[in-house]
Amino acid sequence: MRAKVQVFLKPGVLDVQGKAVEHALHGLGWGDVADVRVGRTIEFDLKSADATAAEAEVKAMCEKLLANTVIEGYRVEVA
């Protein structure tokens, strides 16, 4: 199975990189762009055949390493 993890700063945590990107997009003429958030995607293979078990495992990985839950939230997709 292929796991895809998306990690973003939590709402309410200032994303200065997102702000800078938003400012640049405004400068290029896309003035209606708002609330840009920059995150990261982490993808990997898992041997598990059971999607539910795999998802639980990936969530444990997020809690332990892939995200810092003090500042970041995450979304997990397993397919």
Partner: protein
Amino acid sequence: MKAAVVVFPGSNCDRDCKVAIERSTGAHVDMVWHGDSALPQGVDLVVLPGGFSYGDYLRCGAMAALSPVMSDVKAAAERGVAVVGICNGFQILCEAGLLPGALLRNERLKYVCKSVDLAVANAQTRFTAGYAGRREVRMTVGNGEGNFFADDATLDRLEGEGQVAFRYLDNPNGSARDIAGVVNARGNVLGLMPHPDRAFEAELGSADGALLFQSALASA
């Protein structure tokens, strides 16, 4: 008196820390490789130095927090041994769960490298006792991700319990409530973004950092 400086791949202030501790306290300082399973016996002070451990991959300090030696650093902290994380070392202590909060990208997205004036917010911690009677101290910062963040409840608790050790007089990176350094609830683990190791004798522009190492070892 015995101190240990942990060396991670990508640490770059490890030697500075060793020299700073030796010259300001006369203590014996062992360098400990991050892959070692244990700290030297009878160590009174453990320092996690500045730098870019693991190239700041994933998040600053995230990989280093999982290094083999960190389980013994945690055990030492639980026994009450003094632990100081400076700059990247502060990020590592937060990632390891030894200190609350996290360090975000600097508010203005700039790497900041300069001397900063700090207020000693609590001169009764075991790391700041030497600053009693001093209102301001000067150290140097060098960071791109030194913007201290914690939720409001945590910040209120840190302030209420006297866990804020240092504050910036002129906040260089957007840190919440101007916080430059915090201690854990027990008071034996300190993390700070400014470098006492770059301010331990007058030739460096300030000798104020020496007092921090002296205080840490005096209370051991």
